[in-house]
Chain length 226, copies 2
C-alpha cells in the first residue's frame, strides 16, 4: 500500500511554471529543462504541469516572451531614434547573453509574440529615421535577422562553454590558435583574423555590426530604389 504524496496547498499556475522553467534554463542550460526536473522543482506531477501548459514548445515560448517583453519595455519611448535603436539592440544582446536559451528559441520558433514585439520595436524606430516606406520593410527584416544571427551564435557558444569566464578565454585562444595555424594561402582572411578573434569583445563587435547596418540604412534616402 503505497500512499500518494499529499496534494499541494497553493495553486499552480502557468506563470509559476514558466518562472520555474526559466530558473532551470538559467542554471543548467537548455538540456536541463525536462519535465522531470520541473516536477521535482515544483514538487508536483506531470499532469499538473500539462494542465497549464500545452507542451514543451509552449513552455519555452512563454519563457522567451517574458524575457523579451521585459527588455523592450525598458527602452525609453521618446529617445532619439538612432540612439534608441542602439539601446534596443544592445538590450536584446545583453538579455540573450544572460539567457542564451532565449537566443536559441528565437531562431527556432520565430512566429511567436516575442518576435512580433522585436519587429515592432525596431521597425517603428526605423520609420522615425525617415527610411523610405518601400525600403522600411526590408530594412527592418535585415536588422532583426542580424540580431537573430548573433543570438543564435551566442546560444551556441553558451552551449559548449559552462558560462565560466576562464573557459571563455581558453576557448577563444584555442580557436584563435587553430585559425592562426591554418594555411595562409588557403585561408588568408581567417588566418589574419586570428589575432582579432582572440582580442575581440562580443558586445562591441555586435554594436559595430549595428552601426554598419545603420550607416547602410542612411544611404537609402539618397539613392531611392531605382
Amino acid at each position: 500500500m503505497t500512499k500518494r504524496a499529499p496534494r499541494r496547498t497553493d495553486g499552480l499556475s502557468k506563470e509559476l511554471i514558466v518562472k520555474a522553467a526559466a530558473e532551470i534554463l538559467d542554471e543548467g542550460g537548455e538540456a536541463a529543462l525536462t519535465f522531470r526536473a520541473l516536477t521535482a522543482r515544483l514538487s508536483t506531477g506531470y499532469g499538473a504541469i500539462y494542465h497549464h501548459v500545452a507542451n514543451k514548445s509552449d513552455l519555452l515560448a512563454a519563457a522567451t516572451d517574458d524575457v523579451i517583453a521585459r527588455v523592450l519595455s525598458d527602452v525609453v519611448v521618446d529617445a532619439e531614434p538612432r540612439e534608441a535603436l542602439r539601446t534596443v539592440a544592445l538590450g536584446l544582446f545583453d538579455a540573450i547573453d544572460a539567457h542564451p536559451w532565449v537566443g536559441a528559441q528565437l531562431s527556432r520558433e520565430p512566429w511567436r509574440p516575442a518576435l512580433l514585439d522585436i519587429y515592432e520595436s525596431i521597425g517603428g524606430r526605423l520609420a522615425r529615421l525617415d527610411v523610405p516606406d518601400r525600403a522600411l520593410f526590408d530594412a527592418a527584416g535585415a536588422l532583426v535577422n542580424y540580431v537573430l544571427g548573433v543570438a543564435g551564435q551566442n546560444a551556441a557558444n553558451a552551449r559548449l562553454l559552462a558560462a565560466d569566464e576562464a573557459d571563455r578565454t581558453a576557448f577563444l585562444t584555442s580557436v584563435s590558435d587553430r585559425w592562426a595555424s591554418l594555411d595562409p594561402a588557403q585561408y588568408p582572411f581567417v588566418h589574419k583574423a586570428a589575432t582579432q578573434l582572440r582580442e575581440h569583445d562580443d558586445r562591441q563587435q555586435f554594436l559595430a555590426g549595428v552601426d554598419i547596418f545603420l550607416a547602410g540604412i542612411a544611404t537609402l534616402h539618397q539613392t531611392p530604389y531605382s
Copy 2:
C-alpha cells in the same frame, strides 16, 4: 534459434552514411533523421554506423560541411568582389532554402569547418573591397551573422511548412491577416507591414539586406574609426 541477417558485401563508409543522412533530411526534415531510419535505409545496424560516425552531431555537421563546401566552390574566383559577395550570399540562401536543415545546423554549431569556409569566402572578398583592416573583422562578422539569421528563419519556416507552395501562400496570408488585425495604436509598424509581408519575396528581401550591409560597409573608408 533466430538467424542473424547476412552481412553486407559492399563496405560502408562515412561518405555513404552522410549521403544517406542528407537524403533522409531532404525528404523528411530534421525530425526524420534518426539512427533507426538510417539503419533501415542502409540495411545495417547501429554498430556499423557508430563505427564510422562519432554521434548524431558529427553526422549533421559532416552533411552540412558537404553542402556548404559545394556552394562556396561554385563561386567564380576572380569576379568583381562586390558582385561576388552578392553571388556568395545568394548561393548560401538558395542552398539553405533547398536544405533547411543546413540553416538550423549552422546556427546551432557554428564552430565547424562549414562556418570557417563561409567566413573566409565573405571576409576575403570584403578585404578586396578596400575595407580598412581594423573594420574588416567586424564587417565580416556582421555580414555572416546576417546570413545566419536568415538561415535560421528559413529553417524555422520550413519546419512548419511542408515545403508545399500552396501551404506557403496560405501561411503568409494567414500571418498577414493576423498582423493587419493588430491594434494600429499598439503595433503601428507591424500593422502597416502586413501588406508587404503578404507580397514579399524572401529571396529579394534577403538580397536587399545584403545590399544594406554592403552600403554600410562602404561608408567605413570615408569615416575611419575615430
